[in-house]
Amino acid sequence: MRISWPHMGSLEFVLSSVFEELGLEYVLPPPSSQRTLELGARYGPEFACFPLKTTLGNFIEAIEAGADTLIMVAGRGPCRFGFYAETQRRILEEAGYEFRMVPLEFEPARIPTTVRRLRELKQGRSWSSLFRAIKFALSKAYLIDRLEQQALHQRCLDRERGATTKALEKCYRMVWKADSYASLRRVEEEAFALLLSLPRAERETVKVGIVGEFYLVLEPFFNLGVEEQLGNLGAYVERNIYLTDWLRPSGRNPVAGHHDRESEEAARPYLTHFVGGEGLHSVGGTVLYRRHGFDGVVHIMPFTCMPETIAKSILPQVSRDLGIPVLSLVIDEMTGKAGVATRLEAFVDLARFRRRAGERGLDLSLQPAF
């Protein structure tokens, strides 16, 4: 059994750590590329959401690389994500690929099935070793998230463009190699020292928050490196979703420092009900960013994503009421890098202008969202 899974941010480091710890065979899908996108768009349903297509592309490339068991998380809506595993299984089988899809569902009623599937996946390894491996992988994930956050905060001060990104990649490799809690602690110190030792420039920065659909926010290849672009434009960036929020729903935002409940409360004047996915938190996150003195919010969503479409309909009103510029980026397989770059540049300029005007006490007329 050669297990594989789709890319999502730094998920590959986490899961491969679990399988390595258990001594099981796994295949990393090739890094996402234009080909992944083309494969996904070719086989995927016409107006299914963008992540379905990209993960489908990942699956095809993983099967080509020799995987025969695919892991996918499933659930029970209202968002389409819960139905991905089933749909992708049907599409791939129709296309003639040979594999086994293992959907994992983590809700009370379906736990017995999930336990059975996990038992098959662990291939005779003991449950306690599985839990130990997962726990260790989670500590790695947590460390990666904190490193990413540090990178988001300091990228705008890079004296040499791209230095932080390069250092972050080095950190990823260091975390990946760590094989015990002791070495992980060492890696933590070294990695933070490395990030903090980068030469910094004195520069005026703006604070930009990122909200949106979790997959697209976490996947730098498919969101066209929005975070890096913003950082290079001189923005101190924060995002309201990290990988650990998704891996440990109970510990939502252990890194970013605000909680589920807080974000729901903040969204209340505009959106009062859970709408699936991250829709509610996109609205709530925008309000919270405003409260924490951010100068702008970038909202990233895949084309036709249902919860985020609701958020996108409501965000202009939030933006008008609170006077914070919001840029909604709708991304699909047709989105070009140059277009996104132009809009981000204009957006950071706007945020910077508004910040300066605010500092001088100038009256800011309400800005329409765009």
Partner: protein, 329 residues
């Protein structure tokens, strides 16, 4: 108090229930009526690009009512059956409506959620009634009356009346009259019964001499049986009906062809379509046309596809008849 009911989305299912309940409570109900060109274009100009066509139409209806009424009635239907959800857009609908009217008109939005049991729903309905009257018996009577009318309306749909005659309580205008060729038109109520956005597809089919079967007319136990066969159950309330109806029509050869009406870009339908098309193919079922409509759909292209599909079905039917004759000879 003048209460507006937008004639879009779930109006096509619960319109009768809502109007009769509010009327029995003594509210003056103002309906935005059927979709028109101006409603659609005002909705399209106001809604986000990424919204689906019915939501854009719904925006248009809300805008048409905005200045005419004291409040607009947009209930939030979270779940209409235990273990299922409606689509996220319906979960956020009252909030979308609030953005559409720019807080000029209050929105009445009771939350109906069958996941939380009957008591929560009863409380929601009761607190809705309290807006109009303080007499609890009057609310309960209004509720019972509305529910009865709603059942009657659904029954009429099941018998094969079209949506408009069923709303008016007429008994003529059957969609299915025992003609030779029979086509199932299956999709969300607001996709199938909206005469403007579907360019009166049902009437056109019947003028082509074709019987129409809708998802309502497929017996419920057949639909449920089909859903039980699926490896993963569908968790959207209305998609269950749609998928169940399509699969039942396919398995039992209830019709000669199926038109699956989808509005662009409907989230659940895009996923259910994969499932239906594949199961249909696997069962060697009836021809299936997935018809995607949006606000740019032109009448010419639309009609051509329908006509081609109907022609194809006629030819297929003729071939089958000839084969039977040949065997008999």
């Amino acid at each position: 108090m003048r209460v507006g009911i937008p004639g879009g989305l779930l109006y096509y299912r619960y319109g009768k229930l809502w109007t009769s309940f509010l009327q029995a409570l003594g509210a003056e109900v103002v309906e935005s009526g059927e979709t028109t060109r101006s409603i659609l274009s005002s909705g399209v100009s106001k809604a986000e690009n990424e919204s689906c066509l019915p939501v854009k139409v719904f925006y248009g209806h809300v805008l048409a009512l905005r200045d005419k009424v004291d409040a607009i009635f947009v209930p939030r239907l979270v779940s209409v059956r235990k273990g299922t959800h409606t689509c996220p857009k319906m979960l956020g609908l009252p909030d979308l409506a609030r953005v559409a009217v720019e807080d000029r008109t209050p929105i009445i939005a009771p939350t109906i959620n069958f996941q939380e049991g009957m008591w929560a729903n009863y409380r929601a309905v009761y607190s809705l009634g309290r807006l109009f009257t303080h007499n609890p018996w009057r609310i309960i009577r209004a509720g019972i009356r509305a529910w009865r009318e709603h059942r009657l309306y659904l029954e009429r749909l099941t018998l094969g009346l079209d949506h408009r005659s069923a709303l008016r309580g007429e008994a003529e205008n059957l969609l299915c009259e025992g003609r030779e060729l029979r086509i199932a038109v299956i999709g969300h109520h607001y996709n199938v019964y909206d005469t403007f956005t579907t360019m009166s597809l049902l009437d056109r089919l019947s003028s082509m001499g074709v019987d129409v079967v809708t998802a309502d007319m497929v017996p419920e136990d057949l639909r449920k049986k089909e859903l039980k066969r699926l490896p993963k159950d569908i968790y959207w309330s209305y998609e269950q009906e749609i998928a169940g109806a399509i699969l039942a029509c396919t398995r039992h050869r209830l019709v000669d062809g199926i038109i699956f009406m989808i509005s662009f870009p409907c989230g659940p339908d895009s996923i259910v379509r994969v499932l239906c098309e594949q199961e249909n193919k696997r069962m060697g079922g009836v021809p299936l046309l997935a018809l995607v409509i949006d606000e740019h759909t032109g009448e010419g292209g639309f009609l051509t596809r329908i006509e081609a599909f109907v022609d194809m079905l006629w030819r297929k039917k003729g071939e089958a008849a000839r084969e039977r004759e040949a065997v008999a000879v």
